[in-house]
């Protein structure tokens, strides 16, 4: 106990992407506070986009300047290592395109009761919640931190930083507000519930190791004796929180409801960014903190992975709502990624698996954003046309759009020459080399089942007659750009994945900082 406190050291450069995003969010809040309403959007949109670009540039700058870092920054709170930077880049990219999707999706006045005079007035007055943008930035900041947290406390805080804005954003859909609010409430209650589990797990692990540093937990695995039950239970309960975020069965139930109810750009952000961040965190916990425990946790994760793949795929088959279907597909994909999570062995194997997972996250994230982007374009008078029957004959009505969506769906189904194929290949091959052949076989069966519902949509779009009063196609330039970019990425990653694979394997080379 000394009277003076040594000032903490903060590696500002390393943390600069994070800081930029949070800073921009705060600036955004200030804009909300002081700028006149008609100017807010004009400030917010560029501010958000620029900050994301800047953060992305900083990620690259950090790597270019000093090579891939491998240290715990900010007094050990933030892990600045290859995977973290890769995931940051990915999240920033995905956030950028998701933000571009934001159009007229948000409610003009959240307070106004749906259908009330007040709401009408707000619409006619041109009110808008430009607070959405800082909220998105906060969420993105949370995601960045979540994936890079080096101790469980930061992870918990990041989890909340990420989730709280999302809870709210989910409730802000302009149309179908009842659904949107319901989604927000469900997401919130379940999210809070699961974060309680996360916290309890943290507590038990803390109790076991006497520390919340991931690396210290890891080292204590071999040094602490007699308290294994704390460790097991703690890890399991902590796992509940993480599994919840990635939407693994049986913790997946929020996903369809929330994805469906949330405004589509936010769904896109959740389906891509949140998933990426959650996997980053999950890997950190399982590989860094519980790394030496493989045999204890991998059977359980096996079971979870199998359930996730199968349930996701099977439940998607009978969906009639495209967003819901994509949500179930997202569950199945989480399962596919989980197959690689269990495939740990030596360091080489781990980096193989890790790079596979990283690639999968990029590929799937972009594809899914693209798919949700297409969803925003197909409109009925009452908003987006979600019901699949409305999509019948879209190939006739708007061949290009239908083709692009078909392409995304094929990518999700894992057809070669799409990014999804190499993604699937990467994780499956990691799993096989990790000895999880049986898991891969299940994965393959699930993929085949999953292919059915992707194909079903394609059949509907191309081989069915269009309805007489079919939906109209709205193509804002930004959305068009996003979809185009996603399609391009899906092709390029499918045909020439080498650069991204290289990046991923370089990022995965040194594995996580310990």
């Amino acid at each position: 106990m000394t009277d003076t406190i040594t000032a903490p050291t903060i590696e500002y450069l390393l943390l600069s992407p994070l800081l930029v995003v949070f800073g921009a969010a705060i600036v955004g809040v200030l804009v909300e506070a002081f700028a006149p309403r008609y100017l807010r959007a004009a400030f917010q949109v560029p501010l958000t986009l620029l900050s994301l670009v800047a953060a992305f540039a900083l990620v690259i700058f950090v790597v270019v300047k000093d090579g891939v870092p491998n240290k715990a920054a900010a007094m050990g709170a933030v892990a600045a290592d290859g995977p973290a930077l890769f995931i940051w880049g990915t999240i920033l990219l995905l956030a950028f395109v998701s933000v571009l999707l934001i159009g007229d999706d948000f409610v003009p006045s959240a307070v106004a009761v749906p259908g009330s005079v007040e709401e009408e007035r707000a619409v006619s007055e041109g009110a808008a919640h430009t607070e959405v943008y800082p909220l998105v930035l906060f969420a993105v900041g949370g995601m960045l931190l979540f994936a890079a947290s080096n101790d469980l406390l930061v992870m918990f805080v990041a989890l909340e930083v990420m989730s709280l804005p999302l809870y709210m954003l989910c409730g802000l859909a302009r149309r179908r507000r009842l659904l949107s609010q319901e989604a927000a409430m469900k997401y919130f209650l379940l999210g809070a519930f699961s974060s309680a589990f996360f916290l309890y797990g943290t507590a038990l692990l803390y109790g076991y190791a006497g520390s919340i540093d991931l690396s210290k937990i890891s080292t204590s695995l071999s040094s602490v004796g007699g308290q294994d039950s704390l460790l097991f239970i703690g890890a399991a309960v902590l796992g509940v929180g993480l599994f919840f975020k990635i939407g693994a069965v049986p913790f997946q139930m929020w996903k369809p409801d929330v994805y469906q109810g949330a405004p589509t750009p936010i769904t896109a952000l959740m389906a891509s960014g949140t998933l990426v961040a959650a996997f980053g965190a999950l890997l950190r916990v399982f590989w860094v903190a519980l790394g030496n425990l493989e045999w204890d946790w991998s059977p359980v994760v096996w079971a979870v992975a199998i359930l996730t793949m199968v349930v996701g795929a099977i439940l998607a088959i009978t969906q009639t709502d495209i967003k819901r279907m994509l949500a179930y597909s997202s569950i199945a994909h989480a399962g596919f990624i989980l197959t690689a999570v269990v495939a740990t062995a030596g360091a080489k194997q781990n980096s193989l698996a890790l790079s596979g997972i990283l690639f999968y996250l990029v590929a799937y994230g972009l594809t899914t954003v693209g798919a949700f982007g297409v969803v925003t374009m197909v409109r009925d008078p009452g908003g987006e046309a979600w019901h699949l029957s409305r999509w019948a004959g879209l190939g006739k009505r708007s061949p290009k759009l239908a083709m692009v969506l078909a392409f995304f769906l094929l990518a999700m189904a894992g057809i070669p020459l799409t990014s999804g194929f190499f993604a699937k290949y990467a994780v499956f091959s990691a799993a096989v080399s990790g000895g999880a052949v049986a898991l891969v076989v299940v994965g393959v069966v699930a993929s085949a089942i999953a292919a059915f519902f992707y194909v079903r949509v394609i059949v509907l779009m191309f081989f069915s007659d269009p309805a007489a009063d079919g939906p109209s196609i709205v193509m804002p330039i930004a959305t068009r750009g996003v979809v185009g970019f996603a399609a391009l990425a899906t092709v390029v990653l499918g045909v020439f994945p080498q650069p991204v694979l290289d990046l991923a394997s370089k990022a995965a080379q040194s594995l996580f900082v310990r």
């Binding site: 409430m185 469900k186 209650l189 379940l190 519930f193 699961s194 589990f197 294994d228 039950s229 460790l231 097991f232 239970i233 890890a235 399991a236 309960v237 796992g239 509940v240 599994f243 919840f244 049986p250 913790f251 139930m253 929020w254 369809p256 409801d257 425990l293 204890d296 946790w297 059977p299 359980v300 079971a303 979870v304 349930v311 099977i314 439940l315 998607a316 088959i317 009978t318 969906q319 089942i449 059915f452």
Partner: protein
């Protein structure tokens, strides 16, 4: 047997022209389409005549066994080559000779058919294939020709395809032949597995080295093939239906040439796979005898003139088979009978065709009668053919058939006596045909005005009847044919001497006379009812082709149909059903499973909570293992 020597150049080297002429003609006629309608039949006739000329030129070359290599067919398996030896030349002469006559006859017979050109194309195709069959120097090429004649036969039987009966008959002929081919193919595989080649030379030279069982197996398999093509029991059923084809077809294919291919095959392979006394040979003789009797019995009950003749053909080929099964002693008689039969049966068929031509295509003999005056040339030539086939002394059939019967009697008395009985029945049914057609009172309808056929049809008849008179004597007396064929098929240890009026021969003659007499009593002198009376059981038995078709239907067709339906059902409901059921099952489970997503946030929380509890428990358990 002489060894086979390679040969190229010269007339022998050009022997492939025999096949090329008709083949080219067929190709021109088929590809040329209607443009060739005007002169198609002439080209069609020219081709076999040209081949005949080539055949004669080959025949005039010094006798020997020449192998003419043409080109590599399937590398490592077989080449395409021709074997020019006495046996093949004999056949080539028959095919092109009788073939040419039938072609000429067809000009007249098919004059009013708009598709005459196509008919000639098919006939040419047949001639080419048949020549390939007999000239081939290995089993595979032989099989090529074998199938080619099958195809041509199919096309010609079904020439009047708009008649459902004709189409069905054509298909039946092909399918039944295919059953034989199946056996033939297995024989071929066995040959290749045993010798590693299909070429006649090496196979025959080394046959003795192979095990007895193998040889017998090959023999039986080849015999099955031969049975199919030569309409021997049990694959005889197609031949009678094949009479749906135009009559020249019946004459050429289903009497003179194609159906003898089986005999050719047995004789050709005789030395290797059907040596005297071997099991395979015994089976050949049994098949031959059975068929000769069956054919004869069928012939007795048919009112359709062509079917009666077809039954007779079966029967006569049965004789040839019988002879072919008797080893080198029988080969010459088999071939000789084959040749003379080629003439007199073609004569008979063409005569029948002439009658039909005159009778507005009426085939039912019960509507004929008393035609001898109206169609003198036809009657005389037909009558000569009739005498030849029943073995009237000094006509062709007398020598050849008698030779067979004698040889059979020498080999096995039972076979011999059965053959004699067959001859007696022949006397009966052929007399019946003649009496019903040309004698008695006229029974034809009023709008029918019988007349003699044009000369383009009668001249071939005349030439064929001349052959029917003299050919047999020429071939048999002083063993001319036997000696000629010797290098190709081997000679018996002792050349047989022809004894006119041997006891067997006399017995045969007596039976034939008896048969003819009965026929006269029933059909010559008595009035023939226009509608066939209900006969005895035996008559029905014969009329219905010895229940061959019924047997086929009961044993093969009905179970086959049943099996097919079962298979289709199984494929739809079973195999596909499993797949569809699986899909439906997944879909159904999806439909049920999605109900757990109740929409109640508390249920979701419950799922998380229970999941957490299970996870903790599982982890705890796994961790403590």
């Amino acid at each position: 047997m002489e060894p086979i020597v390679e040969h190229s150049g010269g007339v022998i080297g050009a022997s492939w022209l025999m096949i090329a002429f008709p083949l080219a003609s067929a190709a021109i006629l088929l590809l040329g389409g209607r443009r060739t309608n005007a002169w198609g039949h002439l080209l069609g006739v020219f081709a076999p005549v040209a081949s005949f000329v080539v055949a004669v030129m080959c025949f005039l070359q010094p006798s020997g066994r020449y192998d003419v290599g043409l080109y590599d067919f399937i590398p490592g398996v077989a080449k395409v080559g021709l074997l020019i030896d006495p046996l093949s030349i004999t056949f080539a002469l028959l095919i092109t000779g009788v073939g040419s006559l039938i072609h000429i006859y067809s000009i007249g017979y098919m004059a009013h058919d708009p598709e005459r050109r196509r008919f000639f194309a098919y006939l040419n195709l047949f001639v080419a294939a048949m020549l390939l069959l007999v000239l081939a120097d290995n089993y595979l090429v032989l099989f090529l020709g074998w199938e080619g004649v099958g195809l041509a036969s199919y096309l010609l039987i079904g020439f009047w395809q708009f008649k459902p009966t004709a189409a069905t008959a054509a298909k039946k002929a092909f399918v039944v032949n295919r059953v034989g081919d199946f056996g033939f193919l297995v024989g071929l595989f066995t040959i290749f597995a045993t010798f590693g080649t299909f070429a006649f030379g090496p196979v025959f030279d080394n046959a003795a080295k192979a095990s007895n069982g193998t040889l017998t197996a090959i023999g039986i398999m080849l015999l099955i093939g031969a049975c199919g093509k030569s309409a021997q029991l049990p694959l005889q059923s197609w031949l009678l239906d094949a009479m749906e084809g135009p009559t020249p077809v019946s004459a050429l294919i289903h009497a003179a040439t194609m159906v003898t291919a089986g005999v050719y095959l047995v004789v050709r392979s005789g030395a290797a796979f059907f040596p005297e006394g071997a099991t395979a040979s015994l089976i050949v003789t049994i098949v031959g005898v059975a068929t000769l009797l069956a054919g004869a019995i069928i012939g007795t009950a048919k009112d359709d003139i062509k079917k009666a003749l077809a039954g007779s053909t079966m029967s006569q080929i049965g004789y040839m088979m019988l002879a072919a099964g008797l080893g080198p002693a029988g080969y010459a008689f088999a071939i000789a009978h084959l040749l003379t039969h080629g003439f007199f049966k073609a004569d008979l068929f063409l005569g029948a065709g002439s009658v039909m031509h005159a009778m507005k295509d009426e085939v039912n003999m019960r509507r004929y009668g008393a035609l001898r005056a109206l169609m003198p040339v036809t009657f005389i030539t037909f009558f000569i053919g009739y005498l030849a086939i029943i073995g009237f002394p000094l006509l062709s059939g007398y020598f050849t058939k008698d030779g067979i019967i004698e040889t059979a009697m020498d080999s096995n008395a039972i076979l011999g006596w059965l053959a004699v009985i067959g001859a007696g029945i022949t006397g009966f049914y052929m007399s019946r045909v003649v009496f019903m057609t040309f004698f008695g009172s006229k029974r034809w309808a009023d709008d029918v005005h019988p007349h003699e056929s044009p000369s383009v049809m009668t001249w071939p008849l005349i030439i064929l009847s001349i052959g029917s008179i003299f050919l047999g004597g020429y071939l048999i007396l002083s063993n001319r044919l036997m000696v000629y064929l010797g290098p190709a098929v081997g000679l018996p240890e002792a050349l047989p001497q022809f004894h006119p009026f041997s006891p067997t021969g006399l017995a045969t003659l007596a039976l034939v006379a008896l048969g003819a007499a009965i026929a006269w009593v029933r059909y010559g002198s008595a009035e023939v009812p226009q509608v066939a009376p209900r006969g005895s059981f035996l008559t029905t038995f014969a009329r219905r082709d010895l229940y061959g078709d019924a047997l086929n239907e009961a044993l093969l067709m009905r179970p086959g149909q049943w099996l097919t339906r079962l298979a289709v059902w199984f494929d739809n409901k079973g195999v596909d059903g499993v797949v569809n059921g699986l899909a439906a099952g997944i879909g159904g489970s999806s439909g049920r499973l999605r109900r757990i997503q109740t929409g109640f946030v508390r249920s979701y929380a419950l799922s998380i909570f229970v999941g957490a509890a299970v996870l903790v428990g599982a982890w705890y358990v796994v961790g403590n293992l």
